[in-house]
Symmetry: C2
Subunit: 338 residues, 2 copies
């Protein structure tokens, strides 16, 4: 049925008729083929402009076998991870060519299947799959007809192409920063240990301490949950047992916010008495903390850009099996900078 707002979209036939040429010539004129007389091209362009002609990408895609469309499949319901990745991917693909469409599977594998089918049915040229956590995930089932790049959360199949943040190195960087400030009574308070993100960051943090011939205060990493309330209760009991703590590496900015709050209440000055590093560099939390929070940034836009580059290359026939890691950067604010 006809759309409410109007007139059926103009077609190349309309343009050709108005310009008084065949559709073949109109097509060539519009696509910059050079077997067209300048004046003819001009007439066609004017006609197209006048009718605000916009070529039907469906027809084009049908012919070309590629649609200039990429699907980004996410399960990140808050969009905290996937939107920056989407932006990075869009940037990498650039304006002129490829469009990225985002679908949300909400962590439901049935819905994921549905979206994959819908996207493939619409003949996207490739797929970027963004996980909601950094743990490796099963690859999309079935033999897919287009290349796939896994971002943020790698595929379990090491023949697939994956791009992730280097959480181990980030843990090391965070602790090295505290060490460089002269801190030596350092604790690592992190989130749910069932998350690879928690374990990886802890691994890096522990390695950095070990390299400095130190062990974490309390002799272990303190796993819990990704929440402010865990940050509060963890730091409270740690301070009671180890009043000499002088550095905290928190597994997330939420945890760090809880830590900062309790440090304030206990009268510990940050960063003078205790320096604090968070993780995620989530602006809403980090810049509004007292003091403002130093945090590790996963560089998600860059991750998205890289995912797009790898996908583009794969669409051209390239192969990139394995996991590529993107470095995280340290964003220094008041909580470690005085």
């Amino acid at each position: 049925m006809a759309p409410a707002t109007g007139k059926r979209p103009t077609t190349l036939t309309d343009v050709a008729r108005l310009a008084g040429v065949s559709i073949a010539t109109a097509s060539k004129a519009l696509n910059g083929r050079n077997q067209v007389r300048a004046s003819t091209r001009e007439r066609v362009m004017v006609a197209a402009e006048q009718l605000s002609f916009s070529p039907n990408a469906l027809a084009r895609g049908l012919l070309a076998g590629r649609t200039g469309t990429v699907g980004l499949l996410t399960s990140d319901m808050e969009g905290r991870f996937s939107l920056p990745i989407l932006m990075g991917a869009e940037d990498a693909f650039g304006r002129g060519s490829v469009s990225v469409f985002l679908c949300d599977a909400r962590g439901d594998s049935f819905r994921e299947q549905y979206h994959v089918k819908a996207l493939l049915g619409r003949r996207v040229d490739g797929l970027i799959v963004v996980g909601s956590r950094t743990d490796a995930r099963p690859p999309l089932p079935g033999r897919l007809s287009v290349p796939v790049v896994y971002a943020y959360s790698p595929s379990l199949d090491d023949q697939d192409t994956s791009v992730i943040s280097d959480n181990v190195e980030a843990g090391r960087t965070a602790v090295d920063h505290l060490l460089a400030l002269g801190r030596s009574r350092i604790v690592h308070i992190s989130g749910d240990r069932t998350y690879a993100a928690a374990r990886d960051r802890a691994e890096g943090a522990t390695a950095a301490l070990r390299a400095a011939r130190l062990t974490p205060v309390g002799k272990k990493v303190h796993f819990g949950s990704w929440s402010e309330s865990w940050g509060r209760s963890a730091i409270a009991s740690l301070l009671a047992a180890h009043p000499d703590i002088d550095g905290v590496f928190a597994g997330s900015d939420q945890i760090a916010r809880g830590v900062l709050e309790v440090l304030r209440e206990k009268g510990r000055a940050v960063p003078e008495d205790v320096a604090v590093v968070g993780f995620d560099n989530w602006a809403v939390l980090a810049t509004q903390a007292r003091p403002q929070l130093t945090s590790m940034d996963m560089q998600l836009e860059q991750l998205g850009r890289r995912a797009a580059e790898l996908l583009f290359s794969a669409m051209e026939g390239g192969t990139h099996p394995g996991i590529e890691k993107i470095g995280c950067s340290l964003v220094i604010r008041e909580s470690t900078a005085g």
Copy 2:
């Protein structure tokens, strides 16, 4: 060129050949037309299954004149508003039929134009435009060939279809809640007054107070910015001038968090001494506050559902000029519940 991962997608022709029928019959069998013998249908189904045939939506769309695709154009870079709206829209369109693709214009009208062109070129059946703030926005330029629904942020053209949250009523609801708790020394601390959201909520709040023959403490609404730090400084100076404040309506959960923090520091018990209501019901902030924060919820999923319904109806030829308002709901937590 051929995609790296493989074989060109199977076509109806492949299926028909394997089943030993014509493509016309294969098509009818697959689409449940009833002019097909049961055993033939069965053979075709098996063949399609075996080749994991997925019909080319481009070809279908070309024929049908509609693609079963809707574009959701957002400018909300954090996704806090647009992702819930996306989910609501997906739900409303249901599984079987329409897919929603999200594009991010990042508040840049050039990029918005680009995305609109890309979406229309791909022949979406309709467009949902989601703003980043509640202020009315200029309509998409040009005569579009598909219906458009504006969500969250209405179109300035009252002939367009818009769905928004009822911020005025929400302001009233929040204050009525405080009044019902017996509070009478109420302040409203809100965000940037250049935002319609701030002004609308303030209008509702003021009306509710007036209806109770009260004026806000300090005789005015306290506008500032959408941040915790503004919440902190605003409540601090208000408490100094008006120590008898017993209720706070904050224009956002971020502001409310700042308010709660200072109330704690000043030794005011919440909700016993001062009851606090926030706005947005942003789980990360509201559930981790001390005490947990009562907040107004804009029901964005419902807003998305309604936008999808209106768009669907418009695609069928219906018209719905004007602005439809979705009610916000009060989510009661400890900060007003004792």
